[in-house]
């Protein structure tokens, strides 16, 4: 099993007392599988994704990514797992402003110590970025930026790709095109994908769909 999430709980301290966002979330994902995660705004989709990615620690519960414990690991171990097994795509501000497109594409792969220039070139060509390699993020359109983010996530050869509304800031046509590229890339790499989205239309393109409500998952 690529990803195992068991009885995950997370609450935040707020001025009105603790806010319980996840109240026992469990699911599994296999290699090559794609899962769409939907839910109302504020239901905790992003929170769940961040916990899986090791960006934050849960209050309780288990997360195993490629057989490695993510939930119980310390800061440094989680950082290593992020670097090596996870590809992340956020809604915005994915890129490093001081690096060019080429630098961004290769960044995580080089951090992880598995940079493959041929793969980067291939990804750039497939994502239509070949002519933009020397540009800086601020000189790109929103759709171009998201394509770079996808390329960067795939360049590290991740086993698990986590995408949080990657097309949320894009118009429908551009968003569809970007999602196509993401799904293609994930399929080619044989990685698992968790895609957070509001759109039932986009969710329909994933192999499985789950809905988050009241802190729990429903099919």
């Amino acid at each position: 099993m690529l990803l195992e999430v068991k009885d995950l709980r997370k609450s935040f301290a707020t001025s009105e007392g603790p806010l319980s966002v996840l109240r026992g979330v469990s699911f599994e994902l296999d290699h090559g599988e794609s899962l769409a995660l939907t839910g109302e705004s504020g239901s905790g989709k992003s929170t769940l994704l961040h916990l899986i990615a090791g960006l934050d620690a849960p209050d309780s519960g288990q997360i195993r990514v490629a057989g490695q414990d993510m939930a119980g690991a310390g800061d440094a171990a989680r950082a290593r797992l992020r670097r090596e097994v996870v590809g992340l795509v956020f809604q915005q501000f994915n890129l490093i402003g001081s690096l060019t497109v080429a630098g961004n594409l290769a960044f995580q792969a080089r951090l992880a110590g598995r940079h493959d220039p041929a793969l980067v070139d291939d990804l750039a060509a497939r994502l239509g970025l070949s002519g933009l390699m020397t540009r800086y993020p601020e000189q790109l359109s929103g759709g171009q930026q998201q394509r770079v983010a996808i390329g960067r996530a795939l360049a590290v050869r991740p086993v698990l790709v986590l995408a949080d509304e990657p097309t949320g800031n894009l118009d429908e046509a551009t968003g569809d095109a970007v999602l196509d590229l993401l799904l293609d890339g994930v399929a080619q790499a044989g990685a698992g994908l968790v895609l957070v989205t509001h759109s039932p239309r986009l969710a329909a393109r994933c192999a499985r769909r789950v809905h988050l409500g009241s802190g729990r998952l429903a099919a």
Partner: protein, 808 residues
Amino acid sequence: MKPGVALVALLSWWRRTPLQLAMLLLGLALATALWSGVQAINAEARASYARAAQMLGQGDLTRLVDPTGGRISQQVFAELRAAGWAVSPILEGHLRLGDQRFRLIGVDPPSLPPEAGFGEFPTGGAAMLMAMAPPEVLFGAPDTLGQVPPDLEVPLGLELREAPALAPGVLVADIRIARQLLGAPGEISYFLLAPEQPEGRAPLDEAAPRLREAAPEGGAELARLTDSFHLNLTAFGLLAFAVGLFIVHAAIGLAFEQRRSMFRTLRALGLTAGALIALLMAELLVLALVAGVVGVALGYVIAAALMPDVAATLSGLYGATLPGTLALRPEWWLSGMAIALLGTLAAGARGLWRIYRLPLLAPAQPRAWARASERALMAQGAVALALLALAVMLGVWGGGLVAGFAMLAAFLLAAALALPVVLSGALALAARRVRGVMGEWFLADTRQQLPGLSLALMALMLALAANIGVSTMVSSFRLTFTGWLDQRLAAELYVTARSEAEAEDLRAWLAPRADAVLPVWRFDTDVAGEPTTLYGVADHATYRDHWPLLQTLPEAWDAVAAGEAVMINEQLSRRAGLRPGDAVELPGGWRGQVAGVYSDYGNPTGQVMLGIDDFLALYPEVPRREHAVRVAPERAADLARDLQDTFSLPDQNVTDQAEAKAASLRIFERTFAVTGALNLLTLGVATVALLASLVTLSGMRLPQLAPVWAMGLTRARLAQLELARMLMLAALTAIAALPVGLGLAWVLLAVINVDAFGWRLPMHLFPADWLRLGLMALLAAGLAAAWPVRRLARMAPGDLLRVFASER
């Protein structure tokens, strides 16, 4: 939209960023404090010179003096009066009470003109004051009287009475009392001329042929001499203020930048651009007022702490007496407030202008404000080059102290402007060599941060350069000065007799016991229009072997001994344009040649050394009480003790070489204590500038750091890198500051000093000092970065994650 509502919205932003507000206020307050502190010292000194000048109408009453500088006899007074002149005799001298020296002025109350006032003394004049008092009274300002040891038995059983308007260090007495105290029976130093002279009086040639009229002087002379010192202080105050303005500029600029979207919203809601600017000006004004008040108060504290050293310096270097305490003067706290307000407006002007031109529609992309535009950097570099050229031109063609300081200002500004260009270049160069993803990112990110940090880094560089420059100057000076003292103070003992008779006995007693007894007999006068002291010099190896000559003709000492030539000091040589070989004429009619020029540090006036025989022939009246005694060094202490026992001479009349050197060095160290303190304060201000910029930037940095964190770097590692970045920038800045500081030192030594003091010093290099300062720069950067870095290391993941959330 109501302006009040908008103002609340604008101000609410500061409530959410209290730290940034604190930094802005602190920067402005510190800048104002240094500036107004220096101003406070200058104002106090000026007021004190003015008081000194007011003494006995020195400021505006003409005097009758003996042009040879000798005392005048009581007989002349009677003759002048008989000839119909309205004059009043004054006797001046130095009086020692306990271990303090005072300037004693003896006046003749019945003849004293009412214009010869005691400053603001309420009874309207010295005449009234003295006429009302019994003769057995010594008047002095409360400060001055406070220096008289309380257990001291005042000579002649005199009563000490307070006269607050008197200048510090001055005692006033009836002339009869003064004559007794100074041991000068029947003597007069000069006459004050009443402004209204009776008609039909005999011309001066007949009434008193030996006397000449002398223009009023005193305070003006002192002010001229000390000008350079005050200009120095002012320059430092300005530098500190400029450094402070960098902080304010950075803080205001960032505060405007961060509120762009708020401004846009306000404008979209119907606030006109003019109203928005007016509101922001009002906001700045409030900030400036708060910071100004704090700054002026702080400035007072700084000035009060520095005042004793300044007073000691001025009395040591120029003989100007200052009170060691500070009065609150409206002129300086008003000027402190004004400079705080003006500075804030100047620092905010560019930001205000940009907001005035702010387009209503936000561009589609968030503005990458931090990206350095190559073209802006090029323009900045060009301005720096132009300023450098200006500095060189001022150096080549300019003259005088003001041109010197203008040159310094242009040079420092050029260096500051060039710094970001140089740093950016250095980083670009390093980026080409570095391998590895972290290194590349680190350098690229540092380069991107530069524009946000460059103002603070400029401030740091200016502070470091000032430190290097001034400490190089002071250390060079110290090295030269100690070497010079060894030469100048070659004699083992310096002995001063209390009277001419005692001096004669001393010479007779010493002759068989010492290797040589050399006269130190002087005569104060003007040579080539410059105030100058003439010395009679014996033909002795002490001078031939040790005297610190800068330029000399061959066989110079022979020529001096033969009465054909004189030695002059560097000050006189520079001011009067006299070089070895030039002809020179002395008062009294002596003519001859300049044989050599010697260095004479720490002395404001000119000096001439003349063969002793000619000297005595020209000025037979000079006091002959001081002597330099040569004796084998191991016997010096015994001889001094014998001498004191035999003649029961007081301690201060016998000085050994070590004491004389120590005293000179003490004056020297105190002179530069003030500069040292200001130096350190400037560095402190620069540290605050860095801290302010880092705190402000740290909030804006998250979008750049969050992706790197998400891709697999821990917060701790990121924090380490942030710290390393600051240390690297500080180190580069310190390296860049080195040549700037050395340039500054050169200008100070070769241009400013020559104009201000009349002597030029060789420049020495002190690499150990540079290392120490480099470490201090790293420490400053480390301290400034510590807090933001710590905050990053402990930042909640949620705060970093917010960057990616749509709510931004």
